[in-house]
């Protein structure tokens, strides 16, 4: 029962802060609301018994990516409150299509019965061994090739960001 209370708190706060991200005029407030959303999602990961993913979410998303966003926002002085944009046709159709997508997404849950082949990592097995050990084991046994490719991808991102950020002489 206490789990349900926490779930509803996290879910409502995540959705509300998500709405505030896209509607607030000041971009810095949007970034801070997005940090709130990330924390709520991390809370939901803990409820799903994925503690390692929750910790990585807070460290990487809330701790590194959003800090980078705030740096760039401050550098570009994009934090001033922009004047309220008029409700142009593009914004109206944007919200309309988002609403239609929401209808489709909610209809999916009534029409489609998603079934898969259940594996053997039941909740008890995960609790017994710990999710970090299981993820590490899967990463280095079954997913070793994507793991190495992701390390090369991160190197590419570093080199790309440095090359793009150089001053043109």
């Amino acid at each position: 029962m206490i789990e349900q209370v926490f779930f509803y708190i996290f879910a409502v706060v995540a959705v509300v802060t998500g709405l505030l991200v896209i509607t607030h005029r000041n971009a810095i407030y949007s970034a801070l609301f997005l940090v709130g959303t990330f924390f709520c999602i991390a809370g939901m990961y803990v409820l799903l018994n994925a503690q390692f993913v929750a910790a990585v979410q807070v460290i990487v998303y809330a701790g590194a990516i959003m800090v980078l966003f705030l740096f760039v926002l401050m550098l570009l002085s994009a934090g001033e409150a922009t004047p309220r944009e008029p409700l142009s046709a593009q914004r109206f159709f944007g919200f309309l299509f988002a609403a239609l997508l929401l209808l489709q997404t909610l209809m999916l849950f009534h029409v489609v019965r998603a079934t898969g082949q259940p594996g053997e990592m039941t909740q008890e097995a995960v609790r017994r061994t710990g999710s970090s050990e299981l993820i590490g084991e899967a990463l280095f046994k079954n997913f070793i090739y994507p793991f190495e490719v992701v390390s090369i991808l991160l190197l590419l991102a570093i080199v790309g960001a440095v090359v793009l950020g150089r001053k043109r002489s």
Binding site: L68, V72, L75, F109, P118, M121, L164
Partner: protein
């Protein structure tokens, strides 16, 4: 235990909010933030399925998605900074020509 559908509804809502943000906002940085929101909604769906289907592969996939998202943010913000250096604006309505 909370049923899978509850988590999927939250994930769908967050994804649609991200889509609305991409379609309606004009600041390039807020659009980028909405894309991150969409990625997080997908991550939430992955972890929810990982628990419901008794597999650890969903969480491993989330790990990779986060790594790719971090790389994408680094390069994307570098691009935005370069565009701002040349055009003095982050309003995507004004960045509609590749070169003039």
């Amino acid at each position: 235990m909370i049923p899978l559908s509850h988590y999927l509804i939250v994930s769908g809502l967050l994804f649609v909010i991200g889509v609305a943000g991409v379609l309606t906002r004009r600041s390039a940085l807020v659009i980028f933030m909405s894309v991150e929101l969409m990625l997080n909604a997908a991550n939430l769906a992955l972890v929810a399925f990982s628990r419901s289907l008794h597999s650890i592969d969903g969480q491993v996939f989330v790990f990779f998605v986060m790594a790719v998202a971090a790389a994408e943010v680094a390069v994307g913000l570098a691009i935005i900074i370069v565009i701002f250096r040349n055009r003095e604006t982050t309003n995507v309505d004004e960045i509609n020509l590749m070169k003039w």
